[in-house]
Amino acid sequence: MNDRDAREIKRLQWQCRRGMLELDLLLNHFLQHGYAELDSDARQAFERLLGMQDQILQDWLIGQAIPADAELTALIARIRAAIRTAP
């Protein structure tokens, strides 16, 4: 990871601090164990996702709703997979 990436991850880490424990766990875990592998489009999608309201994020990540945006849907699948497979 280069310095720019490291700075970016620190900035995003604070955006992953949310009002709900479930979101804290899923988003922080993905930031540490999945974000580095995303291409630039997917990284932009992750930023977009972090801009959503907590309750909407919760519905999407826990599986009670699906976003209309296909990029976000794909990203959510990766975040959900990461929490179960990464260390």
Binding site: R7, K10, R11, Q13, W14, R17, R18, G19, M20, L21, E22, L23, D24, L25, L26, N28, Q53, D54, Q55, L61, I62, G63, Q64, R80, I83, R84
Partner: protein, 591 residues
């Protein structure tokens, strides 16, 4: 670190630290009256923990069933195990009704009955006619009441021109030589730059401290920041031994597995496959009261019958109920298990452990949300210019145990009360008091301490150890030996904080620095919790001791006060006299 003189200063009538329901309701009242209001929030305001409150807010509107604020008051006093202050409880239950209507008018989309009135659901502990039939008192906006309230209050505050300092971390309060609060030192998380906010009044509304426990339902932000700030300026914390646990959280993670799982026929087993609740509660079994189930789980683990490689959890089985029942009646649990555990609860048992949920204790205040502390003229002298509301405060309406639906009510009523009192305080004290460099020094020294370079222990390691220590020594299993050992371990851990060093000393978004400052706060509130619990040798409400299983009204109808200096304990009487009605005297708390 910049010298005190060179730091930028901003001036406001009111400084509010924390942007959950309590902070935003106070801010709205003040900004609407054209005061200059600053709200400091370490995360974006709508990411405050109020957003996670699903249940609803209690108010005796009598929309679904007959109801009366006085019945609500009786239930709250009884629920508090008679430790709640009855003047504050009367205030809360009376004010609940206009508070809900005010929220409705502000735009909170409450669910509706067919006749158009606000929908009200029944929760445990609610009765009609002083302990009679079930009442229905909880107003809800579907299952996202906290979210609806928080977003409505935030939007209204933007309209009223409240000034938000988003992603700013409050380091410490600033006081003058006479003990009057002058504002706070805050840190801009993005730039790493400190800022002095001078204010005529300051409200602490920073929420709870569930992160002090390893297994908690609380978000990462709940680190007791306001409570620890109050301690560091010499104030007490009240009734910190009273902490609410749910028996079944996802082991190692904390999310709640609702009681509905056991209500539908689920049961707990240990590593030997035994349904162990048969031994602890032969009649109620897995539906025994929360504290009994919690303590039984921990006893099984302590005696070596835990499950998993570290034998540190038990299993909750619902797989015998069939996939239809599990998936249709317990959809939330099904989703949580699939996402976090990769299991289908209809096919595999869930690893569970008691999870820390809600603090009844906090910064002592009166019913106007003014912070009070023991001083020359008695145990409840008002600290000038300083207020507290919400979970970080102890007013005390929850006493030893909180009823469902009363936490959102507490933050709204006493957030509003703080706003009302601040309005009159600012009218009587219209000028900023003078702030000198010497007043800033303690806060700046705290910040500077984390700039020290070199090798040392890591924040994350010490935090993990603290959370484990609190769970093991001041969780649901409490006796003299366990807690006394915990106090000694925590004193040793507290000394080690001096040797902890940051690896990263950069300025921009240095989250490691924020986590270090949060660790300071967690250690302080952890000690307040452990010391208060060790000294209260009775069982009352959520504080349940195996060596003192009975409530002892003769010795313990009093509030605990912990002071940071010398880890000292003090006590003050419960306010048993309401404002306009007769007292509810202590009785056995049976449901």
């Amino acid at each position: 670190m910049a010298a005190a003189r060179s730091l930028p200063h901003r001036h406001f009538d009111a400084l509010i630290i924390g942007a959950g329901g309590a902070g935003l309701n106070a801010a709205l009242r003040l900004a609407a009256a054209d005061l200059r209001v600053a709200v400091v929030s370490k995360v974006f305001p709508t990411r405050s923990h109020t957003v996670a409150a699903q249940g609803g807010v209690n108010a005796a509107l009598a929309n679904a069933l007959p109801d009366n604020w006085h019945w609500h008051m009786f239930d709250t006093v009884k629920g508090s195990d008679y430790l709640g202050d009855q003047d504050a409880i009367e205030t809360m239950c009376r004010e609940a009704i206009p508070t809900v209507y005010e929220l409705e008018h502000a735009g909170v989309p409450f669910s509706r009955l067919d006749n158009g009135r606000i929908y009200q659901r029944a929760f445990g502990g609610q009765s009609q006619n002083f302990g009679g039939e079930q009442a229905a008192r909880t107003c809800a906006a579907a299952d996202r009441t906290g979210h609806a309230i928080l977003h409505t209050l935030y939007q209204q505050n933007l309209r009223a021109k409240t000034h938000f300092f988003d992603e700013h971390f409050a380091v410490d309060l600033i006081r003058d030589d006479e003990g009057v609060t002058l504002g706070a030192l805050v840190l801009d998380i993005e730039s790493g730059e400190p800022l002095i906010i001078e204010s005529k009044t300051t409200l602490l509304a920073t929420g709870g401290h569930g992160q002090v426990y390893r297994t908690s339902t609380n978000a990462f932000i709940n680190t007791g920041d306001g409570m620890a700030m109050a301690l560091r300026v010499g104030g007490p914390l009240q009734d910190m031994e009273f902490y609410q646990f749910h028996p079944t959280g996802v082991a190692g993670k904390g999310m709640l597995i609702t009681e509905a799982a056991r209500g539908e026929g689920g049961y707990l087993i240990n590593s030997e496959g035994e349904s162990f609740m048969e031994r602890y509660a032969p009649n109620a079994l897995d539906l025994a009261s929360r504290d009994v189930v919690s303590r039984s789980i921990v006893t099984e683990i302590r005696e070596g019958r835990g499950c998993g490689p570290n034998k540190d959890y038990v299993l909750l089985k619902v797989d015998h109920l069939g996939a239809d029942v599990v998936h249709q009646r317990l959809p939330g649990i099904t989703d949580i298990c699939r996402v976090f555990l990769g299991i289908d609860p209809a096919k595999a048992p869930m690893p569970v452990f008691p999870t820390a949920h809600y603090a009844m204790g906090g910064i002592p205040t009166d019913r106007h949300a003014r912070v009070v502390a023991p001083a020359r003229h008695g145990p409840e002298e008002v600290v000038p210019g300083l207020y507290a509301a919400g979970e970080c405060a102890c007013v005390s309406v929850h006493g030893a145990n909180r009823l469902g639906g009363n936490s959102l009510l507490d933050i709204l009523v006493f957030g509003r009360a703080a706003g009302t009192d601040i309005l009159s305080y600012v009218t009587e004290n219209p000028h900023h008091r003078s702030m000198r460099d010497a007043h800033l020094e303690p806060a700046i020294a705290r910040l500077a301490r984390w700039e020290r370079q070199g090798e040392g222990e890591r924040v994350a390691d010490v935090k993990a150890e603290l959370r484990r220590l609190m769970e093991d020594h001041c969780g649901v299993f409490r006796d003299q030996a366990t807690m006394a050992e915990g106090v000694e371990k925590l004193k040793a851990l507290r000394e080690r904080i001096e040797g902890v060093r940051l690896r990263d000393h950069s300025q921009t978004f240095n989250t490691a620095r924020i986590e270090a400052l949060e660790l300071d706060n967690l250690v302080d509130v952890g000690m307040a919790t452990l010391m208060s619990a060790l000294h209260r040798d009775e069982s009352r409400g959520a504080h349940s001791r195996v060596d003192y299983p009975q409530r002892d009204d003769e010795r313990w109808m009093k509030h605990s006060l912990y002071l940071r200096e010398d880890d000292r304990m003090d006590y003050k009487p419960v306010r048993t006299k309401p404002l306009t009605v007769d007292s509810f005297p202590p009785k056995p708390r049976v449901y």
